[in-house]
C-alpha cells in the first residue's frame, strides 16, 4: 500500500501551497517580454507604493549569478541581456499576494532588441548567433563499424526525416517554494522538487554560503515528470534572494499560466535517417542525424542529447552506424528534463522509420524488426554486449497475440476501403537504458542509509523523492523485505539535505534499481550490526527486531547504517568515443496501438493499447502498472493532442484550455503485461521502469494512423489539421495520376 496514500486520499498531505509560515511574504517575478535584447532601463511606476515591497535585481545576488547545472550559463536574474521571453529580470515580494500582479505590471523594462532564432532551421542557418559562435550547445559523434562502406552493397537505401514537438509536463501542482533566511541559521528552502541536492548545490554558489548553511527540504510534490529536476533551483534561488533581503520567509508559487510559459519543456527534435538494407531485410548500416532544440541556455541539454544519441539506433543490431547529434540554441525558455530524456524523440524517429524501411523492402513491419532485433551476444550501438535473457522476439509475439495484431492488420486494410472511419494497428519495439548514462552512476557515488529511532521505528534515509511514482513505498518495501520485518514499521525519512545522505537525484529511472540496491545494502548492514551485537539471532519477529534496534540506540546513542554505490563488474564507458556499457541495464518493450481515423473530421481515437515489457523484477505490481499506464497516457497526448504553439519563442497557449491533454474520455483501455527477467545488480532484480512507457506509444500510434490511412506521417503531435492536410495531398496526388 502506498506509504503516503492515506494522507493523499484524505487531503491532509501538505504541499507547498498548503504551508504558511508566520510573517511570510509572497513573491512574484518580473519577466522579459521580448525574445532577445539588451536591457536599457528598468523603471518603477510611481503609482505603486514601492516602499511596501521588497525588490530584488541581479545586483542583490551575493554569489554567482547562475543556476548551477552542467555549464553554468543559466542566469538566475538577467542583468544586461535577455535571451528568451519570460526570462526573470526582477523579483517583488509583498505580504498580500493580491497586490503583486499590478506591481509586476508596473515595472517597465526598456530593451534594445537583438536578432533572435526560433526554430532548429533558423539556429542551424545561424540567422543570428545567439549562443557561442555557432549556436551549438553540444554535439556528439557516435560511430560503429564503417558506415561509408555499406551503401554500395545495399539493395535499398531508405531515407526519412522525423520531427517531434515540445511537450509541457503539466504536473497538476505548479512549481513552488518557501525560503527562510537568517544570517545565523542560514537558508532553508521548502519546496516541490525532484532533486534536493541539486537545489542545494545551486544555492550554495548563488548565496555564497557554506554548505552547512543551506538546507533544502522537499515537501509533498504534486507530479514532476522531469519538470522539477532543474527549475526548482531557479524558483528556490528567487525566493531565497527575496527572503534574504526582506528578512522574513517568502513563498513563490506559480500560477498555471506562468508555470507553462516560463518553465522547461521537452526538447523539440528533428531526426534524419539514411538506412542501407538488403532485399531480405537485413540492416547493413545507417547514418542518423539528430538535432534537439535546446532553448536559450545549455542547462541539461548535453545529457538529454547523450541519451537521445545512444537510443537513436533503437533495439536493433547495426553492424555499421554513425550518429551525429547536436543540441542547438534558440531563443525560447531552456528545454529540460522530461520523462524519457531524449529517448522518446530519437525512438519516435527510428520506430517510424522501421515501418517505412519494411515497406520499401516489402516485408511486414514486425518481420523486418524481428530479423534485426538485438539478441544475447550481439552488440548495441555503443558496443555493449546484450546479456542472456533479453528476448525481444518473445515480447513481440506476446504483444501481437494479446492485441490480435495479425488478424486486425489484415481485416482493417480490407474493411477500410469502404468506410469513412478507417482503422489501423501499429507497433513499436524499443529499449530504455536505466540509470545515468555512461560513467554517471560511478561519478555520483550515491549513498543511502537506514536508521532506527529510540522506540524502534526503522527509517530509510535517502534524497530520493516521492512525486507520485512510489519512491516511499518501494524503498520501504525493499528495506522491510531485506530486514525480514513488517512493511508497516519501516518509514521514509524526510527528504531533507540536513538529514539524509546524497543518494543522487530522482531521475533517469534509477530509484528502484540503483537507490533500491543501496537501501538493500544499508538494511543488510543494520542486520549485521544487530547480529554482531548479539541482539538478534537468525530468526526473529518484527517486534524482536524493533526491540533489538531500540536497545542498540539506547546503548550507543544511535543506529545508522549506510549502503554505498558499487558499479557492477566489467562495466566500462569511454566518454570520448561513446563506446562501452552505456547503461547498467536496459528495459525492453513492444507496444501495440489500435486507432480509428475519422475521415470526416480527421480526429484520431486510440481504441486499444497493449504494452508488453521486461523491466527486471516487478517490485510492486500496482505501482509498476500505474507507471506504465500513466506513461502511456502522457505519450498518447504527446502523439495526438499536446501542441505547444510558439510565438517568437513564447508559448502562446499557456493555459489548460488551449493545451490539451488526454482526459478520462480520450484514453483507450491500456493493457499492461510484464515479463520478469531479474537483473542481478538491481534491488531484488529490478531495472528502471518510469520512463520506458513514454518512449513507445507515439511511434506505435503514428504507425497505426499511417496503416489506417495509407499516408506517411512523420511528425508528432499529429493533430486533426495535420491529418487533414496530409490526406488532402494524398487525394490530390491520386487525382493527378488519374488525370495524367
Amino acid at each position: 500500500m502506498r506509504k503516503e496514500g492515506a494522507a493523499k486520499v484524505c487531503g491532509t498531505a501538505r504541499y507547498i501551497d498548503d504551508i504558511t509560515l508566520p510573517g511570510m511574504l509572497h513573491g512574484a517575478t518580473v519577466r522579459s517580454s521580448i525574445a532577445r535584447g539588451r536591457i536599457k532601463k528598468i523603471t518603477f511606476d510611481p503609482a505603486i507604493p514601492w516602499g511596501e515591497f521588497t525588490i530584488v535585481t541581479a545586483a542583490d545576488i551575493p554569489g554567482a549569478n547562475c543556476i548551477a547545472l552542467i555549464q553554468n550559463d543559466w542566469p538566475c536574474l538577467a542583468a544586461e541581456v535577455v535571451n528568451h521571453p519570460e526570462e526573470p529580470i526582477a523579483l517583488l515580494a509583498h505580504a498580500d499576494k493580491h497586490r503583486l500582479g499590478e506591481a509586476v505590471a508596473a515595472v517597465r523594462v526598456e530593451y534594445e532588441p537583438l536578432p533572435s532564432v526560433h526554430s532548429i532551421a533558423e539556429s542551424e542557418r545561424k540567422d543570428a548567433a545567439v549562443w557561442g559562435e555557432d549556436n551549438v550547445l553540444k554535439s556528439y559523434l557516435m560511430e560503429k563499424g564503417d558506415v561509408d562502406a555499406v551503401w554500395a552493397g545495399a539493395d535499398f537505401i531508405v531515407e526519412g526525416e522525423y520531427e517531434t514537438g515540445a511537450q509541457e509536463h503539466l504536473y497538476i501542482e505548479n512549481n513552488g517554494v518557501i525560503a527562510e533566511y537568517s544570517d545565523a541559521a542560514g537558508l532553508t528552502i521548502y519546496g516541490s522538487m525532484q532533486c534536493p541536492f541539486y537545489v542545494h548545490k545551486s544555492l550554495v554558489k548563488l548565496m555564497a554560503l557554506p554548505e552547512d548553511k543551506v538546507r533544502v527540504v522537499q515537501v509533498e510534490t504534486g507530479g514532476a515528470f522531469g519538470g522539477k529536476e532543474d527549475y526548482p533551483s531557479m524558483i528556490a534561488a528567487h525566493a531565497a534572494l527575496l527572503a534574504r533581503k526582506a528578512g522574513c520567509p517568502v513563498k513563490i508559487v506559480y500560477d498555471r499560466a506562468e508555470d507553462m510559459a516560463a518553465t522547461t519543456k521537452r526538447h523539440p527534435s528533428r531526426t534524419r535517417h539514411r538506412t542501407a538494407v538488403t532485399k531480405d531485410g537485413k540492416l547493413l548500416g545507417a547514418e542518423i542525424d539528430l538535432v534537439l532544440d535546446g532553448g536559450a541556455y545549455s542547462t541539461l541539454s548535453s545529457t538529454v542529447l547523450s541519451r537521445a544519441t545512444i537510443h537513436a539506433g533503437g533495439c536493433y543490431f547495426w553492424p555499421n552506424l554513425r550518429v551525429r547529434s547536436r543540441a542547438l540554441a534558440t531563443n525560447s525558455p531552456p528545454h529540460g528534463a522530461f520523462r524519457g530524456f531524449g529517448a522518446p524523440q530519437s525512438l519516435f524517429a527510428i520506430e517510424r522509420h522501421m515501418d517505412r524501411v519494411a515497406a520499401a523492402v516489402g516485408l511486414a513491419p514486425e518481420e523486418l524488426r524481428r530479423r534485426n532485433f538485438l539478441r544475447p551476444g550481439l552488440t548495441t550501438s555503443t558496443g555493449q554486449v546484450i546479456p542472456e535473457g533479453v528476448d525481444l522476439e518473445h515480447l513481440l509475439a506476446r504483444a501481437m497475440e494479446l492485441s490480435g495484431y495479425k488478424e486486425k492488420r489484415q481485416r482493417f486494410a480490407r474493411e477500410n476501403e469502404r468506410c469513412a472511419l478507417k482503422k489501423g494497428i501499429g507497433l513499436a519495439a524499443f529499449l530504455h537504458g536505466a540509470g545515468f548514462t555512461g560513467s554517471g552512476e560511478r561519478r555520483m557515488g550515491s549513498v543511502a542509509a537506514m536508521d532506527a529511532t529510540a522506540d524502534g521505528m526503522l527509517r530509510v534515509l535517502a534524497s530520493s523523492t516521492e512525486f507520485g511514482q512510489g519512491t516511499n513505498t518501494i524503498l520501504c518495501q525493499i528495506a522491510a523485505e531485506t530486514l525480514g520485518v513488517d512493511y508497516g514499521v519501516v518509514q521514509m525519512g524526510p527528504a531533507d539535505t540536513s538529514v539524509v545522505p546524497n543518494s543522487g537525484p530522482t531521475v533517469a529511472s534509477r530509484t528502484a534499481m540503483v537507490v533500491g540496491r543501496l537501501v538493500e545494502s544499508a538494511a543488510k548492514e543494520m542486520q549485521r550490526v544487530l547480529t554482531e551485537a548479539g541482539l538478534i539471532g537468525e530468526q526473529y519477529s518484527t517486534e524482536e527486531f524493533q526491540r533489538a534496534a531500540a536497545t542498540y540506540v539506547a546503548k550507543h546513542g544511535r543506529l545508522r547504517t549506510e549502503g554505498h554505490y558499487e558499479a557492477p563488474p566489467n562495466v566500462f564507458w569511454d566518454d570520448e568515443l561513446y563506446r562501452g556499457e552505456a547503461y547498467g541495464a536496459y528495459a525492453w518493450a513492444v507496444y501495440v496501438a489500435e486507432v480509428t481515423v475519422d475521415t470526416v473530421d480527421y480526429r484520431v481515437a486510440v481504441d486499444d493499447f497493449v504494452a508488453v515489457q521486461e523491466v527486471g523484477r516487478v517490485i510492486n505490481p500496482v505501482l509498476a502498472t500505474g507507471q506504465v499506464e500513466g506513461g502511456v497516457a502522457q505519450a498518447v497526448g504527446y502523439a495526438l493532442y499536446e501542441k505547444v504553439v510558439w510565438q517568437k519563442g513564447r508559448m502562446a497557449n499557456n493555459q489548460m484550455t488551449n493545451y490539451i491533454i488526454a482526459t478520462s474520455q480520450d484514453i483507450p483501455p491500456i493493457r499492461v503485461y510484464f515479463e520478469e527477467v531479474p537483473y542481478k545488480y538491481g534491488a531484488y532484480g529490478a531495472k528502471g521502469i518510469g520512463e520506458l512507457p513514454m518512449d513507445g506509444p507515439a511511434p506505435a500510434i503514428v504507425n497505426a494512423v499511417s496503416h489506417a490511412t495509407s499516408a506517411d506521417f512523420c511528425a508528432v503531435p499529429l493533430l486533426p489539421e495535420d491529418v487533414m492536410t496530409k490526406l488532402a495531398q494524398v487525394k490530390l496526388r491520386v487525382v493527378e495520376v488519374v488525370g495524367a
Binding site: R2, A6, V9, C10, G11, G626, T663, S664, Q665
Partner: protein
C-alpha cells in the same frame, strides 16, 4: 467593494466568513477556513483539482464567487473520511492505486463521490464521462476507473447488509 458576511455549511458545520463577494470559493476554503485539501491546478475550471460538492452538485470552486455559495451546503475532501476512518471511495483509491502524486486526488474523489451518489452502479463509459472534468497527469486513469468500480461494489454490499 466591501467585505460581505457570508454564511455557508461546510462539511456539515455552519461557517461564517467575511469575504469580498467575488472572492473565489477555493480561496475562502483554503485561506479563510484552512481546508487545504482542495487544490488549485489551473484556476480556470479546466482541471477539476478544486472540485467540491455544492448542494449536491460537483463544482469547480475556482469558478465560484463566494457570494454564490451563501447558504449552500459545501462538502470538501475533508468532509469525507480521515486516515483513521476512510470513506469507501477514499479506501478504493488507496487500494487500487488511484492516487499517485495526489494533487488531482481530492477533486477526483469528489467527482467519483458525486457520480456514485447519482448512479450507484456506473458502467465504465459512465465513469469515463463522470470524471471527464477532472484531469490526472499521473495514472492514465485506469486505476481510477477500477477504484470507482470497487467503491461501487463496496457501497452495494454495504447497502445489502
Amino acid at each position: 467593494m466591501s467585505l460581505q458576511r457570508i454564511v455557508m455549511t461546510v462539511n456539515g458545520v455552519e461557517r461564517t466568513v467575511d469575504a469580498h463577494p467575488m472572492e473565489r470559493l477555493l480561496d475562502v476554503l483554503r485561506e479563510k477556513l484552512g481546508l487545504t485539501g482542495t487544490k488549485e491546478g489551473c484556476g480556470e475550471g479546466e482541471c477539476g483539482a478544486c472540485s467540491v460538492l455544492m448542494d449536491g452538485s460537483l463544482v469547480n470552486s475556482c469558478l465560484i464567487p463566494v457570494a454564490q455559495a451563501a447558504h449552500a451546503q459545501i462538502v470538501t475532501i475533508e468532509g469525507l473520511g480521515s486516515p483513521e476512518k476512510l470513506d469507501p471511495v477514499q479506501e478504493a483509491f488507496l487500494h487500487c492505486g488511484g492516487s499517485q502524486c495526489g494533487m488531482c486526488t481530492p477533486g477526483m474523489i469528489m467527482a467519483a463521490k458525486c457520480l456514485l451518489m447519482h448512479n450507484v452502479k456506473p458502467s465504465r463509459e459512465e465513469i469515463r464521462e463522470g470524471l471527464g472534468g477532472n484531469l490526472c497527469r499521473c495514472t492514465g486513469y485506469m486505476r481510477i476507473f477500477e477504484a470507482v468500480e470497487a467503491a461501487a461494489r463496496t457501497q452495494e454490499s454495504e447497502a445489502a447488509r
